[in-house]
């Protein structure tokens, strides 16, 4: 089956019917049956006992292939062949983590990234709300009025297409526990969240905006060239997209400032 996230569809190949059922339930609207993909991940479902459940995740480059390991999976990704393999048990969490990592690896060379942010579309424009844990990402998603389409409450998908930045819906959910809508829109603004007694939008300078953006970009492979690509992507994004601090009180009135 093909899981289409961010317009970069990946064919996930499995012969395990139980795992396929799990994928269909987990990725719902992100599964495409009528398209082919240049990217493929072959998943070998195995006994969970073979893993060291206490091991932390690691991502590194071995030759021209990325390797990634965590307590619950082992995986590889060849960016040239656009193929990878995953060994995991039949659960949705491992493949979810592998997909996040692989997408960050695919996005970095083209100037895109995954961001710790909720995001939403209003009046055809996408707005991102970024911050560390407890900053209010899910709160902003919960407070969204009816005319707002949520893209995610956890991991926003940012791509640079023909010189413009777009946000895409993702199935990567946070506390809300629901996948975002599988749609995209040009990004109108990034708001860096800060809880406050009232609601106001504050200007911040480029250096601070870039620094805070970098702190919230999801990136797992700390290899020098990749780090430079992410750094360049963050600088280019801030140069092109308005970035503000959104000081907000957590009630619906904050959305009066958005859109």
């Amino acid at each position: 089956m093909v899981i289409d996230i961010g317009g970069l569809p990946i064919e996930v190949q499995t012969t395990d019917p139980e795992f396929e059922r799990i994928l269909r339930k987990r990725y719902g609207d992100y599964i495409r049956s009528a398209i082919t993909s240049e990217f493929a991940l072959r998943v070998e479902v195995t006994n969970p006992d073979v893993f060291d459940s206490d091991a932390d995740a690691e991502v590194w480059l071995e030759g021209c292939e990325w390797r990634m390991e965590r307590g619950d999976f082992r995986a590889s990704w060849n960016p040239v062949e656009r193929r990878g393999q995953v060994i995991q048990s039949a659960n949705p969490y491992s493949i979810d983590s592998v997909l996040r990592i692989v997408h960050t690896l695919m996005l970095a060379p083209e100037g895109g990234f995954l961001l710790h942010a909720s995001s939403a579309v209003r009046n055809g424009k996408a707005f991102l709300f970024s911050g560390v844990s407890e900053a209010g990402k899910t709160t902003m998603a919960r407070l969204a009025p009816a005319d707002v389409a949520l893209l995610t409450d956890e991991a926003s998908y940012v791509r640079k297409v023909d010189g413009r930045y777009f946000a895409y819906g993702t199935p990567f959910a946070g506390e809300l526990g629901e996948p975002g809508k599988n749609i995209s829109a040009p990004i109108a603004a990034l708001y860096l969240l800060k809880k406050a007694p009232g609601n106001r939008i504050e200007e911040i300078d480029q250096a601070e905006a870039t620094q805070r953006l970098l702190r919230n970009i999801l990136f797992f492979a700390h290899q020098a060239e990749m780090v430079r690509q992410v750094f360049d992507a963050a600088c280019a994004f801030v140069a092109a997209v308005p970035v503000y601090q959104l000081a907000f009180f957590p009630d619906q009135r904050v959305w009066e400032l958005i859109g």
């Binding site: 991502v59 480029q206 797992f220 700390h222």
Partner: protein, 128 residues
Amino acid sequence: MSTAEMYLSQSAHIAARTLGDDTLIMSTLDSTIFVLNAVGTAIWNAADGKTPLSQIIHERVCSEFEVTGEEAYADAKEFVGQLAEHGILSISNAPVSPYANPEKAQAQASATKPARPSESGGIQGAEK
């Protein structure tokens, strides 16, 4: 002012961008992020390995900013010491040849070394 001269060289293990008056620098080794203000940016831009720090202070700092030589030199020594601790720049007591940069070879050699990811996501590190 110290009698021993200090020569500063920018590390090969960094990504840097000047944004307005400030310069954002990130280590590609540990993803530490530094934001240099206008004075720090002036020193950073002059860190060519062959200009002594005292000359940088005299020509790039005291002439541009309202600080005395001794005050600026003391602050600068502390500042470059912090950057050197994080591998952002290197300090030597003699000029460094522009043709000899062992860090670059080392950077290339270590480019494929496994590195621990930030599981919580984010290019993280101590911000200055």
